[in-house]
Symmetry: C2
Subunit: 385 residues, 2 copies
C-alpha cells in the first residue's frame, strides 16, 4: 500500500571485527551499494543524516567528514545519536524532512568503527551512556543491565539459561547464511551454555559483540520513489519512546516499557497489529533481550516469549519469523549501523531478495531497535506495494 | 504572517564561565523559563531534541539523562549534533517532526557544559571536529582556522586589525545590557588591539570564550500555537548547507560557502531577501567571522562588510542591526546552546521584549549559525504575526 515516504535503496558494508579502513571508506562501501540499487545518482541526494554513537573513534562530528568523503559537500548534513538506535532515529528524521517538504531524497548513513578501542575501553564508554552521576560509576555496564533483566525474567516467569541459549542457536543458524555477518558459525546449545561467564546468568555467547560496519538507507518522497525504483518499501509506522536513563528508575525489569510504548505508537500509525507482521528484526543485543522483545511487541503474551521460540514460531517456517539475518548476535553490533542493518534486512525481505531465508509472501515487516538498556526505543513498520 | 510551525516559548540559563551544576539542572533552568512563557504544561510536550556537541563533559548520549531529569520520560527523544550549530539543526528537525504530523509540540534543548575541561583540552576536542586523519593532528584548531580567514580577507580587501576590533567594541556595548551574558564589560578599541595574541592576527578579545549554558525553544503546530501564546513567532525560512570538513578543500577563505548557500535557501523558502531583514543574529565566534557573515548573508557586498560596520548600519539605529544581545563575543559560547541563544534573541526582538536594545517595529529576523569553520551552516528566518 502506497505511503508518503519510501525506502528506495539500501546498502551495507560487511560487519567486521576490524575493518582496517577509515570511517569515510566504511560508509562509502554502504553508500554506493545503496545508490547502485536505484536510478539515483550522487547529485540527486538532497541531504544526509549521519548516525553514530559517540567517542568510539577519534573523529568528532563525523557528518562533515563523511559527507565530504561521499562528495555530498554543499548538501545539508548533521549527526544524530541515540546509542544503539541511532540509525532508527535517523530514519525518523529522514522521513520527517521529506514529509515536511524540505527534501525529496535523503541518505540515512549509520556507522560505527569500534576496533580502535579495546573491549574494556568500549565497555567503559557504553557505561557512560547511563547517568554518569548516579549509575555508570558504580559499574552498570550493558551486560550488567541485561543480566538484571534476565534475572527478573527468570524470577517472574521461570525462564532458564538453557532457554536463553536457544535464542543464540536459532540466530546462529540464519547468521551462517548471511555473508555480511561477522560471526557465521552455527553454535549448539552446549556451546552457548559452556561459554565463558560474562555477567551471570549471561555467558559470552549470550552477548552480541562489537563490530565495525556501515549501513545506508536512501529515502524518497512518493513521486521520486515511483521514478527511481520498481520496489519501493513504504514507511507505514514510526514509533518512538524513551525510558529512564537510570535503571533504578524503572518500574519493571522483565519488560522494557519504552519498547511497549514505541510498538503501540507504530502499530497505531500503521493501522496494524502484531498479527499483521510477516517478518521482524528485533534488537537481540543479548539472548534475553530477544525473548523480552517478543513480549513487548505483542508477538507473545508476557511470560510466553520462550514458548513462542520453543514452538519454533520465530523460525523461518513459523508464524512470525524473527532475525532471519542472524540478528545482532551473528552480525555483530556496530552501534550506529545496527538499526540500519535491521531495516535493510526487512527491506530485502519485503523485496523478496533473501534466498534461503526468504519469508514467502512477506508484505509487512517490523523493526525493533533499542538504544542502551531501554533508554530509547524505535519501532518501524514497513510494507511493499 | 502565519506559517505552519511557530516558536511559542524560549528560555535560557545564564551563560557562565562555570555553572557548578549538572547538565540536567542546567537544562532545567532554560526549560522552565520556556514553558512558563506559554500556556503549556510539561505533559503537553510531545518530544524533545537534545542538541549538544560531544566529549565536553562525561555524559554520553545526554538525551536520555536530560529528558529523564525534565520528567519527559516515555516521550521520544534523541541527540542532534552539528558542532556550534547543533541547536539550529535541532530547530530544523523539530520543525520537520511537526510539519510531518508526527508531533504537535517539540522542545529543542541545546546545552553545553565546558567547564569540566581546561582550555587546552577543549581546544583539542574542537580540533577533532576537523578531519582527524588529514588536518586536526597538524594543529588546525578553531582560532587557527579563523585566523586564516582573517588573513585572506585582509589580503583580498585590505581589512585591518583595527577594523576587526570594531566588531568586538560594538558587540560589547550591547552585551553589557544582556543580563544573561557571561562577559558584560564594554571594551575599547585599544583594549581589543592590545589584548594577548592568540593566533595572529586574532587576539584574545577577537575570540569568543567557552561557556556553560542551556537554551530551550518550544515549537508548536499552527493550531497549538494559536492556543498557547499571544505572540507566536513563525518559521518562515530554513536554510542549511555544508562545506568541506578539511580547510584544504575550500575554494575561498574570505567567504564561507555553506553560509552563502544556506542563506540563499532560507531567503528562497521565506520569499524574502536581505533587504527585508529587520534584525539579525550572526555567528561572531571571532570578530572576522561577523564581517564575513555580513557579506555571506547579502547585508553587504563582498569586501564591503567593514564599511557596513563603520557606517554603523549594524548598530541598533542602523539599517540592519546585528547581535544586539552582544553576540557570542559577549554572551560566551556554550557550543550546543549557542544557536538556540541566537534564536531566542530574535524571538524576543520580534515579540518586542528587548527594552533598551529593541529594534523598533521589528517584523522579520534572521539567525546565522555556523558549525565549526564553515563545516555546517544553518540560516533561519523568523517573523511575527
Amino acid at each position: 500500500m502506497e505511503k508518503d515516504v519510501a525506502i528506495v535503496g539500501v546498502g551495507q558494508s560487511p560487519f567486521m571485527r576490524k575493518c582496517g579502513i577509515s570511517i569515510g571508506e566504511l560508509c562509502f562501501l554502504a553508500y554506493h551499494e545503496a545508490l547502485d540499487g536505484t536510478h539515483l545518482k550522487n547529485k540527486d541526494i538532497d541531504a544526509s543524516i549521519i548516525c553514530s554513537a559517540t567517542e568510539y573513534d577519534k573523529q568528532r562530528s563525523p557528518a562533515g567528514v563523511i559527507s565530504d568523503y561521499l562528495d555530498l559537500r554543499k548538501k545539508p548534513t548533521f549527526c544524530v545519536e541515540s546509542l544503539c538506535s541511532s540509525s532508527s532515529s535517523g530514519l525518523r528524521i529522514g522521513y520527517s524532512l521529506i514529509k515536511a517538504g524540505l527534501h525529496d531524497v535523503v541518505a540515512v548513513i549509520g556507522f560505527q568503527k569500534m576496533s580502535e578501542l579495546t573491549s574494556a575501553e568500549a565497555a567503559e564508554r557504553m557505561g557512560r551512556s547511563g547517568d554518569v552521576m548516579w549509575e555508570s560509576p558504580f559499574g552498570m555496564t550493558m551486560p550488567a543491565a541485561f543480566a538484571m533483566f534476565a534475572r527478573a525474567h527468570m524470577t517472574e516467569y521461570g525462564t532458564t539459561e538453557e532457554q536463553l541459549a536457544k535464542v543464540r542457536v536459532k540466530n546462529s543458524i540464519y547468521g551462517a547464511l548471511n555473508d555480511k555477518a561477522a560471526f557465521r558459525k552455527v553454535v549448539t546449545l552446549e556451546e552457548v551454555i559452556n561459554s565463558r561467564p560474562v555477567v551471570t546468568p549471561l555467558k559470552m555467547l549470550d552477548c552480541c559483540a562489537n563490530a565495525d560496519g556501515a549501513v545506508v538507507l536512501i529515502l524518497a518522497s512518493r513521486d521520486v520513489a515511483r521514478r527511481v525504483t520498481d520496489k519501493p518499501i513504504w514507511i507505514h509506522g514510526l514509533g518512538a519512546s524513551s525510558g529512564s536513563a537510570t535503571l533504578a528508575g524503572r518500574e519493571t525489569y522483565s519488560s522494557i516499557s519504552c519498547a511497549r510504548e514505541a510498538a503501540r505508537i507504530a502499530y497505531d500509525m500503521a493501522g496494524l497489529g502484531p498479527e499483521d507482521i510477516d517478518v521482524a528484526e528485533v534488537h537481540d543485543c543479548f539472548t534475553i533481550t530477544e525473548i523480552i522483545n517478543y513480549e513487548d511487541l505483542g508477538f507473545a503474551k508476557p511470560g510466553e516469549g520462550v514458548k513462542l521460540l520453543e514452538d519454533r514460531e520465530t523460525y523461518l517456517e513459523g508464524k512470525i519469523p524473527v532475525n532471519l539475518d542472524g540478528g545482532l548476535l551473528s552480525k555483530g553490533h556496530p552501534i550506529g549501523a545496527t538499526g540500519g542493518g535491521q531495516i535493510r534486512s526487512i527491506v530485502r525481505q519485503l523485496r523478496r531478495e533473501c534466498g534461503e531465508t526468504q519469508v514467502k509472501n512477506a508484505k509487512i515487516g517490523l523493526v525493533h531497535n533499542l538504544g542502551g538498556p531501554g533508554v530509547y526505543c524505535f519501532v518501524t513498520i514497513l510494507g511493499r506495494d
